[in-house]
């Protein structure tokens, strides 16, 4: 996962996660749900990531650990990228 992709993940979180904290100050492993992201906001995050990276999350990835942190999202995007290669 490149630095540019992590910047894009943070942009999506800033626009859609409705977090009450500054996204730029978050650690990559910070738990977004514990910080206040609702399950409904995680839907918007998922759809916005699909738009940003031109991918579609398969049903097997629709679990908490994928969307709970920048690291979790980055791992999922890496996996989708390697599947597509």
């Amino acid at each position: 996962m490149t630095g540019a992709m992590r910047i894009e993940i943070r942009r999506v979180l800033r626009d859609h996660a409705r977090l009450p904290v500054d996204v730029d100050s978050l650690r990559d492993d910070a738990d977004l749900f514990q910080l206040g992201m609702t399950s409904h906001a995680s839907v918007n995050v998922m759809l916005a990531l699909e738009d940003a990276f031109d991918i579609e999350f398969p049903d097997q990835m629709l679990k908490r650990s994928v969307f709970e942190s920048v690291d979790g999202i980055a791992r999922a995007l890496d996996e989708l990228e390697s599947r597509a290669a």
């Binding site: 609702t38 399950s39 839907v43 918007n44 759809l47 097997q60 990835m61 629709l62 679990k63």
Partner: protein
């Protein structure tokens, strides 16, 4: 036998925002065909159904299993009494938990919608 309760509160304004930004794609990824037909673009009713899905996942004691939102659907009988229909991964989780009964109650008023789900569990895994 154990009773397990799940509760969730969802904002109708958040549903309205998702509809505005993502439109049909949001509806298709989250709601069953029946829910989309029953609710159309009524954000209060959609929010209540989203709350029911999340309440059901809590009552089923979901950990990190992948559960698509569309595998939990709200149906209503002729008298308007709601019930839950589980399919695919949600139905498999309910089987693993030994669910014998599942009840749901929904409400929405103004910007808020809520749901409570009660499950009778005979937890097996």
């Amino acid at each position: 036998m154990t009773l397990s309760i799940g509760l969730d509160l969802t904002s109708a304004d958040a549903v309205e925002e998702s509809l505005r930004i993502f439109g049909a794609r949001y509806l298709e990824r989250v709601y069953t065909e029946r829910e989309r037909r029953d609710c159309r673009s009524d954000t209060g009713r959609l929010a209540a159904r989203f709350a029911a899905k999340e309440a059901a996942m809590k009552a089923l004691r979901r950990e990190d299993e992948p559960i698509p939102w569309t595998s939990i659907g709200v149906c209503a009988d002729g008298a308007g009494r709601p019930s839950l229909e589980l399919t695919g991964p949600a139905a498999a989780l309910a089987r693993r938990r030994g669910v014998s009964e599942l009840s749901v109650s929904l409400t929405h008023e103004g910007p808020f919608a809520a749901a409570v789900v009660v499950a009778s569990l005979r937890e097996t895994t």
